[in-house]
């Protein structure tokens, strides 16, 4: 079982307590009605789906119930780090060369 660090509980907890909630850092337009169809399609449907590092939202559903963000490697499924919701995308990732 994966152990995922919850930034609110400040400890590693078993994966069964968590839910994935899609890609993180997707900004919702403040004027949704004014969006063009192409821009709305990009916001609503298009996801990066990279091979390697991905930024995701996760929820500690059966724990503190808070949403947070996680950096994960889609190749190894290893969690690089987690951080609280609302915090900016980390510029330096621990243990990742780039």
């Amino acid at each position: 079982m994966l152990l995922i660090r919850c930034p609110y509980c400040q400890e590693e907890r078993p994966e069964l307590e968590f839910r994935n909630a899609g890609e993180a850092h997707i900004a919702r337009s403040a004027n949704m009605a004014g969006e063009t169809d192409d821009d709305f399609e990009k916001f609503f449907f298009i996801r990066s789906n990279p091979k390697g590092i991905i930024y995701e939202r996760w929820r500690h559903m059966h724990g503190c119930a808070r949403f947070f963000n996680a950096v994960r490697d889609t190749v190894t499924d290893k969690f690089v780090m987690t951080y609280k919701a609302g915090e900016p995308k980390p510029s330096k990732l621990p243990g990742v060369a780039k």
């Binding site: 400890e11 307590e17 059966h62 724990g63 503190c64 119930a65």
Partner: protein, 194 residues
């Protein structure tokens, strides 16, 4: 008219409003652990921002813990940290924590959930092993000391777990899940080898 009025003032002890707590009095004992349904208690789900915590603690008579996975207890009333702004308050002394919170003017949300939850005590040398039959958390005394509390899962259901002693846990689950949880823990206690 007179008939309707008479019906409204029916005696309070009529059989139709008899309260039947789920699983009342059920218990099983295996060699290493005992699983037992606890008597009804007053419960409250409390959500509040940091600015209100001091006033609420004063009104409740127990300091709301602000550290993850901890609880605080005083005079039969226990406050369990569930999330950064969320607590479960259990009163076993028969006093209503909702009434105490009603006087507080600072922002908070207090919801009575006394009848939503059922509490099950798991005690004995194999208590941790019994719960670990369906709960993936580390329940060793280092990771989950006496007084530690956490919302987590047991098998297919969500539970709130509180360690009341080195070999005793209080498992809070929703009433509709209580049959499943009790049976699961009974099976677990039979498997728990110490």
């Amino acid at each position: 008219m007179a008939k309707a009025a008479a019906r409204k003032t029916a005696p309070a002890a009529s059989p139709s409003i008899e309260r039947r707590p789920a699983l009342a009095g059920r218990s099983t004992a295996a060699t290493s652990a005992k699983v037992e349904v606890l008597p009804p208690a007053e419960r409250m789900s409390l959500r509040a921002p940091e600015a209100s915590v001091a006033a609420l603690s004063k009104a409740l008579g127990v300091t709301l813990p602000n550290k993850p996975k901890t609880s605080a207890s005083k005079g039969g009333r226990t406050a369990l940290w569930l999330g950064p702004d969320e607590w479960l308050v259990i009163d076993e002394a028969g006093n209503d924590p909702l009434a105490d919170c009603a006087k507080v003017t600072s922002l908070h949300s207090a919801v009575g959930i006394s009848h939503r939850n059922i509490a099950i005590a798991v005690t004995g040398a194999g208590a941790a092993a019994t719960i670990n039959a369906g709960c993936p958390q580390d329940l060793s005394l280092d990771a989950f000391p006496v007084g530690a509390a956490s919302r987590t899962i047991l098998g297919k259901t969500e539970i709130v777990l509180l360690r009341t002693a080195a070999d005793a846990f209080r498992v809070e689950c929703w009433r509709s899940f209580s049959d499943y949880v009790f049976t699961f823990l009974s099976e677990g206690s039979r498997d728990a080898a110490v």
